[in-house]
């Protein structure tokens, strides 16, 4: 897909989200650097996959982009307009163009509201004068678009399965025809057979409505299915960002390689013959991240430079950037 011709829907520059940590009296002020200097562009109709392990900041990034949580530094530009400068009411009206769906679909729905009322809620907020009849028609249309039979309109969330609840969440998010949908682990709580239905649905809706997606997931196989580009986050920073096929075929960052090689393949011969890049230790605390490269404490090919010099994102190709001092030789070194 050629994306460079159009102008970006969303431009994020050096975004930081730092949360203060409760301090002991007189102790030094400490922060958790959940997102620490992330930049990317998102184009209309594009899907950006964000992958990383728990604690890498992927959900925080998704929320910060929507200004659902305040950022500590950096800018988010929506269609040429910096959101930092937008007034509360301006931000509110922009919100109709950007929506979010969550991991636990049942928890995201009010148990006391009918499906019809849940799906209609964004209309009540943004188009309060709408006639009941028109509203109902819009709700029925939104439900059918996501594969929910409209005769279920008066049912309550607990009467639905997880997959159907996720469809309700998607119908609610799309009823205002947004330009951007942030999907935060939307299929992680679902069974495999249902997961495939929701992935196909999101892909179809995206093509039909030219919707841009930010698809956050820890599941690299799912992200590969749906994304045009993929960002790998580690401890709040971008480790690698590239087009889908490029990152899966030609990963440069040792962390990306470790992640990809750790995914179990549902093929006994391949899985047992597979060579794996193993990491040592656990994710360091984001309160006290390692000096230099944040990945160095777990990196199998760490050198002295990694301790003192923070790596910057370097271009591998026009559409592939990586943040590692040794990206040129990483593949050979790790395969040895």
């Amino acid at each position: 897909m050629s994306l460079s011709s159009s102008s970006p829907l969303l431009s994020v520059r050096n975004l930081k989200v730092h949360f203060p940590v409760k301090n002991d009296l007189f102790a030094e002020k400490r922060v958790v650097k959940a997102v620490d200097g992330v930049s990317f562009d998102l184009y209309p109709g594009e899907t950006l996959g964000i992958v990383g392990e728990s604690g890498c900041g992927k959900s925080t990034l998704g929320r910060a982009v929507l200004k659902l949580i305040p950022s500590s530094a950096g800018t988010v530009v929506w269609l040429g307009r910096p959101l930092e400068d937008a007034s509360k009411s301006a931000l509110r009206s922009l919100r109709r163009e950007m929506q979010i769906i969550f991991q636990d679909p049942l928890a995201a729905l009010d148990p006391r509201m009918t499906v019809g009322a849940i799906v209609a809620e964004p209309l009540d907020t943004f188009e309060p004068g709408m006639a009941e009849q028109d509203k109902r028609a819009r709700v029925v249309e939104a439900m059918e678009r996501v594969g929910l039979p409209s005769h279920l309109i008066n049912r309550y969330p607990h009467e639905f399965s997880g997959g159907q609840c996720q469809r309700i969440g998607i119908a609610r998010a799309l009823i205002l025809k947004p330009k951007l949908l942030v999907c935060d682990e939307p299929v992680s709580a679902l069974d495999v057979s249902i997961q495939a239905q929701i992935i196909n649905l999101l892909k179809r809706l995206q093509t039909e409505e030219n919707l841009a997606l930010i698809f956050i997931s820890h599941n690299l196989s799912v992200v590969r299915r749906i994304s045009d580009r993929v960002m790998v986050l580690y401890l709040g920073k971008i480790a690698e960002l590239a087009e889908r096929d490029e990152i899966y075929r030609n990963p440069r960052h040792p962390y990306t390689q470790a992640l990809l090689s750790a995914v179990p393949i549902a093929d006994p011969d391949k899985e047992r013959a597979k060579k794996r890049v193993s990491l040592t230790g656990d994710l360091p605390s984001p309160i006290n991240p390692p000096s230099g490269c944040v990945f160095r404490t777990r990196c199998p090919i760490v050198i002295e430079k990694c301790q003192s010099v923070v790596p910057v994102l370097e271009p591998v190709t026009d559409s592939h950037t990586v943040s590692c001092h040794r990206w040129r030789e990483a593949i050979q070194l790790l395969m040895e």
Partner: protein, 337 residues
């Protein structure tokens, strides 16, 4: 397609069954009446073998484990037979069971944070197993606990003994659970989604660890998971469950390369993989997993099956042998790939 098992490096296990489950039925009394979670499940586990049980939510896979371990909640009852080392353990008293559980059979759970006691240090929990079951003296037990932590690759094991579960990371807690399970060198280790809550790099380490421990101790493992990739890497034989029944079972390569039940095949196809073809939609299974309280009269998969016939809706197809060591519960003769 014939799939040969004569591959180098594939262990077949010696053929003495350690565990024999026969016609296991597990029911739960609920306010809306009795619900059957397990509907007549039979299988065996050989010594040194790893069995995978695969299924979606409501397939009954976890309840099979809970029934074997005697860990059903108060409203649950099991009938049938579970023989461990030739002894009937279904319906055994708690006292008798406690002599087997922990020493000869151990279980590891999905969520180590809820399975470990938050009030006790890692050391207290580990040594309790030894002092209770084997009457080891406290100093010796502590030394053994330290050793077992070292075996599961926990750094600074001596220091960890004095830590509480909340002071450890998720991966570390799961390793403590495995250490606890392996402490008495059980003959059978039952693992219920042991890596589902973990990040993928940690999952890979934990799976390696299980395989490594098994190679040392010769323990048999029953691994319950929804992740077919995990099964592909670790198991010798696989049972696929749906609606409280085994719908297909066989050696791991047969199940993956020549699935014979429509559900097994659909499940394999619907799972996104790192190496799959991205053109076109991901194949899906229509509809929803079955509601155990309202099971259809025939095959539980019939409402979602692409090959359904009238016969399927009338009676539950029995699990029948289709080749030595392979069985399926389906009326279809042969499913061609």
């Amino acid at each position: 397609m014939t799939v040969s098992q004569e591959q180098p490096g594939w262990k077949t296990g010696n053929q003495t069954p350690l565990l024999v489950v026969d016609q296991l039925v597990t029911r739960f009394a609920t306010p809306d009446g009795s619900v059957s979670a397990v509907n007549g499940v039979s299988f065996h586990v050989n010594k040194g073998e790893t069995i995978g049980i695969v299924g979606e939510s409501g397939s009954g896979k976890s309840q099979v484990l809970m029934s074997i371990m005697g860990l059903l909640p108060h409203n649950g009852t099991s009938t049938g037979s579970v023989k461990f080392d030739d002894r009937e353990i279904l319906g055994m008293s708690r006292e008798q069971l406690n002599k087997i559980r922990g020493t000869r059979m151990a279980m590891i759970f999905q969520d180590p944070m809820t399975a470990l006691n938050p009030y006790l240090t890692v050391g207290q929990q580990l040594t309790e197993v030894l002092t209770f079951h084997q009457g080891t003296n406290p100093a010796m037990a502590r030394e053994q606990a330290r050793e077992v932590l070292e075996q599961v690759h926990i750094p600074e094991p001596g220091k960890r003994l004095d830590m509480y579960p909340h002071e450890l990371s998720g991966g570390m807690r799961q390793r403590v659970m495995i250490a606890m399970g392996m402490l008495c060198r059980p003959d059978l280790l039952i693992a219920d989604e042991p890596t589902t809550a973990l990040d993928v790099t940690i999952q890979a380490e934990i799976l390696d660890l299980l395989a490594e421990q098994q190679a040392v101790t010769g323990t048999s493992i029953i691994l319950v998971t929804h992740d077919l990739g995990v099964v592909a890497g670790l198991c010798d034989r696989v049972m696929v469950m749906y609606g409280g029944r085994i719908v297909e079972q066989g050696p791991v390569r047969d199940i993956f390369y020549d699935p014979q039940h429509p559900y097994t095949r659909a499940l394999l196809l619907s799972m996104p993989r790192l190496d799959d073809d991205l053109s076109g939609d991901l194949p899906t299974i229509a509809g929803q997993p079955p509601n155990l309280a309202q099971m259809p009269p025939g095959c539980a998969f019939a409402p979602r099956c692409a090959f359904v016939s009238e016969q399927c809706r009338q009676a539950v197809p029995p699990l029948r042998e289709i080749a030595p060591g392979r069985a399926k519960a389906c009326t279809l003769d042969r499913l061609v790939a």
